[in-house]
Symmetry: C2
Subunit: 358 residues, 2 copies
DNA sequence: ATACGAAATGCAACCGGTTGCAATTGTGTA
DNA sequence: TACACAATTGCAACCGGTTGCATTTCGTAT
């Protein structure tokens, strides 16, 4: 039984032949082989099938770099992460859920996806220069936009195909159509809906837990929060809206500070589920009970919200739809099929035990 | 103020010049420009700085495809996902945590990362043929191995650089050194540790909740489970080890079936945290209390375990270390610096409220 | 002034595919 | 048998970098 010779487990290296080698074996010219493989009917059927068969036998695969060089096209798109984004489920599952949808949709368009995180210690735009200028990819998905985002400026100046998740600044986009597609969740309406939910529960001092006013999505959510207050005739209190940071720890810390105020808030609207988790921890540590007693709500609608105790009320972003739309619109732009589409998706209020008792 | 002309927001397309164009502007030959940009001291210092300066002004970036064609190297590595893996935090945060570490480590080696999910409806190996044969990437990270995994066979036959997270079959690797690096968490020891924890709590009928015997990691964990039973003189009961599937729902369903047995288990060891979550739900639905009363433990040590109510006892895999090691070893292989390293990392038992009461 | 070696730059081929066009072969018709 | 024309296939240039080697330019020693 076990008398197989002690070969190394790797066989002699398979040749992975080039087109020239394949053609040589087939006894035809490189160009003939190329046409045969692409199914060009100018090549006689017999020759065509013979070469295709041979290619299969030899395991021929066209060299991607050579092809890309000729076509000036890579069939790869980039998914670019901002510095603060983390994939780990503990800190930022948001990206993971979005990426999942992007990967699936990209696969169905025969595109590969390159994930780019800015190199630590380099300027933010460096990776864009390299990736975009060097034609590493055909298009870019950009998220976590800020007003006047320099990445957008660069991509537009280069006329490089891209799609935004979000918008870089309200003013510009309202004045004239942005010449590239974007997908956005109506953050303002969502935040208003969430704040109204807390107002309907009878709360008047509602803290707005943000991560800092840098990002457009936060500005929009803050505006929605203010809309809701104004509609109820409640004055906006700046001390209830101190920014914290993006992590759970930040949310926990700021909530502790809020509770120590002379006139503390009676409910918390967090700008993300992750911050809400931190707020819940702070409240628990302070001996408070999260729920109808002291409501906390998040924003994003991540899967983890359903695991929490109590389960988290949140504004769900349809990240699956967002991811699919991003890729679909980017593909349309690459094919320049049509003027850029701008998609605004509605968020959804999910009421759970963290704001109302079971 | 607002009297700026109604230009389109994109400026005239920046040229993104080629090397030839750059050289022409500089009044030198293509080859001189190339050498100047790479800092070749054969080029006079004055010429060199002049060309570098010009390149900066024109925003020149070398074309990646051309460079890759010449060097037969892409500086991209592939992270290949198996069919059943999902990134969403609700279903499989495992990948997200691993990927996070891989991305960071890759960035520090100046490598880009391509994420590959097999195209739906195509043979498993198709994406490997395309990516590997077509030189899309320099190396591949492979995970979710099965005994006799065809991907491994292919990669070895092609002598294509790769690194495994896990091993494809115990027998082969024990008989002789695998010629490529791998990183593994000691699944067998981990599962034994976990099972012993449940045994120490006095349990004798411990269910092993698996996702099917396809993957090596599960076979190893099952072996560790059996080791622990054997060491305590407890007979292995096949009916307590029915496989379920990979999702929460699978874990929930199988647990419900287990509870309906004539002689049901009194504790559950799940092969993954995700399955454990499903088991906990089934128990809650059945009116049982998870904890000292009916312990449930998982495997993986994902961040979500700390959010659960009760918090989940688990065997933590050091996914950060795994990810860093995978990239580091793959890079070493690409540089063929040294014979392949094989790294075995110890898992860690994290005892929380799902097996012992607070 | 002449020669000579070093310094600086240019020429051309190459990486592996693709394609316009020319050249060859083969078929049908006058 | 000769000729027109279609069907096949080959030649060569190109995509945008890189590099071996030849060539030019310069400073310096004789």
């Amino acid at each position: 039984m076990n008398n197989t010779p002690p070969d190394p487990p790797v066989e002699a290296r398979a040749a992975r032949p080039t087109l020239a080698q394949l053609a040589h074996v087939a006894g035809v010219n490189k160009s003939t082989a190329s046409r045969a493989l692409r199914g060009d009917t100018a090549i006689a059927l017999a020759t065509r099938t013979r070469i295709q068969q041979l290619a299969r036998e030899l395991g021929y695969e066209p060299n991607a770099s050579a092809r890309r060089l000729f076509y000036a096209r890579t069939d790869v798109i980039a998914f670019t992460l901002h510095d603060f984004r983390r994939l780990e489920s503990g800190s930022d599952p948001f990206i993971a859920e979005l990426l999942e949808a992007v990967l699936n949709e990209a696969a169905s368009h025969q595109l590969d996806v390159l994930i780019c995180r800015p190199q630590p210690g380099t300027a933010e735009l460096d990776s864009y220069h390299r990736i975009v200028g060097g034609h590493h990819v055909d298009g870019v998905i950009v998220m976590d936009l800020r007003p006047g985002d320099p990445r957008i400026t660069y991509l537009c100046a280069q006329r490089f195909p891209h799609v935004l998740f979000g918008r870089s600044s309200l003013e510009v986009d309202q004045a004239r159509e942005y010449p590239y597609p974007w997908v956005e969740v109506d953050n303002r309406a969502g935040a208003r809906m969430g704040t109204e939910h807390l107002l309907a529960l009878g709360h008047r001092r509602i803290a707005f837990l943000g991560c800092g006013d840098v990002y457009t999505f936060e500005l929009d959510r803050r505006a929605g929060y203010q809309d809701a207050l104004a509609a109820s005739g409640i004055p906006y209190a700046d001390e209830l809206c101190t920014p914290s940071g993006a992590s759970q720890e930040d949310g926990c810390r700021l909530t502790t500070e809020l509770l120590a105020m002379a006139d503390p808030p009676t409910a918390i609207f967090a700008v993300s589920d992750v911050l809400a988790v931190g707020a819940m921890r702070a409240l628990r540590d302070a001996g408070r009970t999260v729920g109808a007693d002291f409501p906390v709500m998040g924003f994003d609608g991540l899967g983890l919200g359903a695991y929490l105790q109590p389960q988290l009320t949140t504004i769900r972003q349809p990240l699956g739809n967002v991811g699919r739309a991003l890729v679909r619109l980017l593909v349309a732009t690459l094919r320049s099929e049509s003027p850029p589409e701008h998609v605004m998706l509605p968020p959804e209020l999910i009421v759970r035990a963290s704001t109302v008792s079971g």
